[in-house]
């Protein structure tokens, strides 16, 4: 991509492009309709969250990091809370842990259903998109009535959770899950049966087990290729040891398999939520958390909807974290897009891209950027390649 090819025709996708309502800039060099190379540039929404966390106290950083991602916000706040609690030698009460887990799985349902819609939209299957998002509202409503917010639930606090699972919430969750499961069975049937849709998903962006392993793919993307990587099983956190889940894998490794894996995972999630609710431990919701956290480093990992989420947290014994490193699953998976799209049709690129369920805001987080004038992106292929080779 850095080589200076004079005659190449680059299709920029993003940051302002309907395929990617997300702030990233991909450049796909095409030959006719065929993609010959790909590169990526992030950073359009750099918010400086890692640096920002260093300037806040432990509790404030929780809410900052919750905003790394709008979709898996609870995953981010949970992984941070778990890490900090481990560092401080505090353990959230069992009931809080179970509630965190229920929320995580509810969030996974909402995230995967969102993805089904987005991927269907990329394939031009608007009807599936509308339906799956309509039914996703069920779980959004559950989350809203549970925590009081649809997106950034802020259910976690250091040392526990804020909201209890009362009978009213239990009812709405159980009712919602029943109807959702029915719908999910239907969607599973559609994505595995509908010929026009299969034509856009089967054999697309295929990754073999070896490739997925070598590229370090994680989450459903890896599991669709047959790599059994799931932190909920590999390294159980919260109550996953007591309420285990089964890893869903597929062998095909194409987009079709990712649909199947993601939807089947949701049945697992629903089952897991039901089990956790049945055996919900009694007790406190939260314990007191110290203002200062003793010095040390901790690696905290959980399985977010998109794959393993990695946090490295370092404390020097003060009121603020010294370093919070966030490695989001999407960043780990992007290489599979860049590698997977080469040699494919341009029309398939949005599909391959959406296949990993990319979350761009998650990636963009590392520094506060204050730009007073954003330079207009030059869409001249020759100029672009020149500036690339210069930098």
């Amino acid at each position: 991509m850095t080589g200076v090819q004079k005659e190449k025709f680059i299709i920029p996708i993003g940051p302002q492009h309907p395929a990617l309502k997300e702030p990233a800039h991909f450049e796909f060099t095409v030959d006719g309709e065929m993609v010959t190379s790909a590169s990526v540039r992030f950073g359009y929404v750099h918010r400086g969250l890692e640096k920002g966390a260093e300037n806040r106290n432990w509790a404030q950083a929780l809410y900052l990091l919750e905003r790394v991602c709008g979709i898996c916000s609870h995953a981010h706040s949970t992984v941070y809370a778990l890490g900090v609690e481990r560092l401080a030698g505090v353990s959230a009460p069992p009931r809080a842990q179970a509630i965190r887990q229920i929320l995580l799985e509810l969030e996974r349902i909402h995230s995967h259903m969102l993805w089904v819609g987005v991927a269907a939209h990329e394939a031009g299957f608007e009807t599936l998109f509308m339906y799956s998002w309509r039914d996703r509202e069920t779980v959004m409503d559950i989350l809203e009535s549970f925590t009081g917010n649809r997106v950034n639930y802020s259910a976690n606090t250091l040392g526990g959770v804020k909201y209890d699972l009362g009978p009213q919430q239990s009812d709405s969750i159980l009712r919602g899950l029943d109807s959702l499961e029915k719908r999910l069975h239907y969607y599973l049937k559609v994505v595995t049966n509908d010929e026009s849709f299969l034509r856009r998903t089967r054999g697309l962006g295929t990754m073999t087990v070896e490739q997925a392993d070598a590229l370090g793919a994680i989450g459903p993307t890896a599991r669709a290729s047959g790599v059994t990587r799931d932190l909920r099983v590999d390294s159980p956190y919260l109550m996953y040891a007591d309420f285990p889940i089964h890893v869903i894998t597929d062998t095909a490794g194409d987009l079709q398999a990712r649909f199947v894996v993601r939807i089947k995972e949701l049945f697992e999630s629903a089952r897991n939520i039901r089990t956790a609710m049945e055996h919900l431990p009694e007790g406190e919701l939260a314990v007191r958390f110290p203002r200062k956290v003793r010095a040390g480093e901790v690696v905290s990992r959980i399985e977010a909807p998109r794959g393993g989420l990695f946090y490295f947290i370092k404390s020097d014994g003060g009121e603020n974290p010294v370093r919070v490193k966030v490695r989001t699953p999407s960043l780990r998976n992007f290489m599979s897009v860049l590698v997977g799209s080469v040699g494919r049709q341009l029309a398939d690129v949005p599909m391959i891209l959406s296949g990993i369920d990319p979350c761009f805001s998650c990636n963009d987080r590392a520094v506060i950027v204050r730009r007073d004038g954003v330079p207009a992106t030059e869409f001249n292929p020759r100029k672009e390649s020149a500036s690339q080779s210069k930098s």
Partner: protein, 161 residues
């Protein structure tokens, strides 16, 4: 294989190329590695398919301490093996691991722009996250970079050149 065995296997793979070893948590082992021997340590892990490179963390120990540190986290199941490379703050450089792990390029691009650590031999040195007009030589995640907290009101922004 359980976590202890996995970690023992990893330590054995790296062998005496690491200069020091510590166990910060039951499922983690940190190995201190000289910058020059990093690739030697990574190679056996990659060849044995021990886990995957989960993240590359940059750490700044502050101007007084005078050190930067690069942490290569390899994860296999619950086990986390971290190769810690201590670098001087002046002209810090590590060899690129992209030759062994091609997908590390995004991590290294981030490391270079955020900490100013040179990854020698990395295929792509363009910025990944920082904006194009970010001043060269300013590395935001270093401790001596102070965040400009005062943000301007939106209407003032437009008048800027």
């Amino acid at each position: 294989m359980n976590t202890e065995e996995l970690l023992a296997q990893a330590v054995q793979l790296v062998g005496d190329r690491a200069s020091a070893q510590s166990v910060p948590e039951p499922n983690r082992i940190d190995l201190a590695v000289e910058p020059g021997r990093l690739l030697e340590c990574v190679q056996p892990l990659v060849e044995a398919h021990w886990g995957y490179l989960s993240a590359v963390t940059g750490l700044d120990h502050g101007p007084q301490d005078g050190h930067l540190e690069v942490l290569y986290h390899f994860c296999q199941k619950a086990a986390v093996l971290t190769l810690r490379v201590m670098l001087p703050r002046e002209a810090p450089a590590v060899p690129s691991v992209c030759g062994l792990i091609p997908s590390a390029t995004l991590f290294e691009r981030e490391l270079m722009e955020m900490f100013g650590i040179t990854c020698e031999g990395t295929p792509d040195t363009r910025r990944l996250f920082l904006s194009d007009d970010w001043p060269a030589g300013v590395y935001p995640l270093r401790k001596d970079y102070i965040v400009p907290t005062q943000t301007k009101a939106p209407e003032e922004k437009g008048s800027q050149p």
